[in-house]
């Protein structure tokens, strides 16, 4: 009976809300996905935060600070959505710090030059938007609503990245070479952000049936390539794939698939920065303990005074 009501609601494209009955597996899938998404936003602050002090102008610093602050905000929207499913944020943070929940593998790559900040905004955030726009229609209401806010803010991120690369690409030969090098390094990991091909994906089928996911990994990856190739032309930069060519028959660009063995290796913890990212997050959490304690002590003192 309850199952039937849930199935009908999802089939009718109606939204599931926190206090509705839902299958246990639906709940746990959402918790896993939303938590992983929230962790990605929080860990994603690191590669970019790395360049705040070295951004080339005061304007660029201010913009980058705003962007990193947005990532923190996105993490909080998502933890808040996850909590409506009956988990505690502290619990999710502990699972991240213990390495028992994952975050997007893209953040395990280093940001070596200033141009990487441009490439992250343009390619990484561009890929994220391609993945996230369909989530605004996800069957779970609080997740969909969080995604609406996030997508609005992400479009600023993507444009600022594009603008950094455009400026470098039209600068000195050295600046252009730096922009090209960043695009060369970030292109393949960005393609991996859509996950393994559908044939090898463990979660796609059920998630699509539940309308958590609306499109397959391959379809979204293609959409990203189709969107990005003309933008690369506008930047005057090359994508590092000789296989990219317009296919008039398909109405899409052909491209070379990334090395999924590398994706697996990075997910399993063997990317260039996995250990560093978690160590930095752990240290930040521990170093912030006194702030949390002070805030709690202050609140307790005030509550005591009001009671007296």
């Amino acid at each position: 009976m309850l199952q039937l009501e849930f199935d009908e609601r999802v089939a009718a494209d109606d939204r599931v809300e926190p206090r509705d009955w839902m299958p246990d597996a639906y709940r746990s899938t959402l918790i896993r996905q939303i938590a992983q998404h929230a962790h990605s936003e929080i860990i994603g602050m690191q590669p970019e935060g790395n360049w705040i002090t070295r951004a080339p102008s005061l304007k660029r610093k201010a913009i980058l600070i705003a962007k990193v602050q947005d990532e923190a905000g996105h993490g909080l929207y998502l933890y808040s959505a996850a909590e409506t499913l009956g988990v505690d944020r502290d619990e999710l943070v502990e699972l991240l710090l213990a390495g028992r929940q994952k975050y997007s593998s893209i953040f395990n790559y280093p940001t070596l030059t200033w141009a990487d900040i441009g490439a992250i905004g343009w390619l990484v955030d561009g890929a994220a938007i391609t993945n996230q726009v369909p989530l605004c229609r996800c069957s779970y209401g609080p997740y969909a609503r969080a995604m609406v806010r996030i997508c609005k803010e992400e479009s600023f991120h993507q444009r600022q990245g594009f603008e950094i690369l455009y400026t470098l690409g039209h600068g000195t030969p050295g600046q252009k070479a730096m922009a090209q090098d960043a695009v060369d390094r970030w292109w393949w990991p960005s393609l991996m952000m859509f996950g393994p091909p559908d044939a090898a994906s463990t979660h796609t089928g059920q998630s699509t049936a539940w309308k958590i996911k609306r499109f397959g990994n391959d379809e979204l990856r293609q959409r990203f390539v189709d969107m990005t190739v003309p933008q690369a032309d506008a930047l005057g930069l090359a994508l590092p794939d000789d296989g990219i060519a317009w296919n008039a028959e398909r109405g899409h660009y052909d491209f070379t698939e990334p090395d999924y063995a590398e994706l697996t290796a990075v997910i399993e913890g063997n990317g260039p920065c996995n250990a560093e990212r978690i160590a930095v997050r752990r240290a930040a959490h521990e170093d912030g303990a006194w702030v949390r304690e002070a805030a709690a002590a202050y609140a307790a003192k005030r509550a005591g005074r009001e009671a007296a």
């Binding site: 206090r19 009955w21 905000g73 502290d90 969080a146 803010e153 805030a295 709690a296 202050y298 609140a299």
Partner: protein, 95 residues
């Protein structure tokens, strides 16, 4: 220290004068003053609001989704509460 003693607050934002406050999400904070400051940083970074309410989540009483039918059906069969229920002769205006 574990943070689980920080209560959950629901956040409501008034987008501009003339509109009512609307629910935008939730957050954890040790007290109302911190909840307001955190709500400003999390939910109004782009001028989304001119006023914020924070309400302890524990203080909200909600109707139960299980009782949805008996709770709301009394309204369903009273179509005469809507103006469209009443036929209006042709030519009559401003009614």
């Amino acid at each position: 220290m574990n943070r689980s003693d920080w209560p959950l607050w629901e956040v409501f934002v008034r987008a501009r004068r003339g509109l009512s406050h609307q629910h935008v999400g939730s957050l954890h904070a040790p007290d109302a003053a911190m909840a307001l400051r955190n709500a400003r940083d999390v939910y109004t970074r782009r001028n989304e609001g001119v006023s914020i309410w924070v309400v302890p989540a524990a203080a909200i009483h909600a109707s139960s989704p299980d009782e949805k039918d008996p709770f709301f059906t009394p309204a369903a069969d009273k179509v005469y509460r809507h103006p469209t229920f009443y036929p209006v002769p042709e030519g009559v205006e401003h009614l």
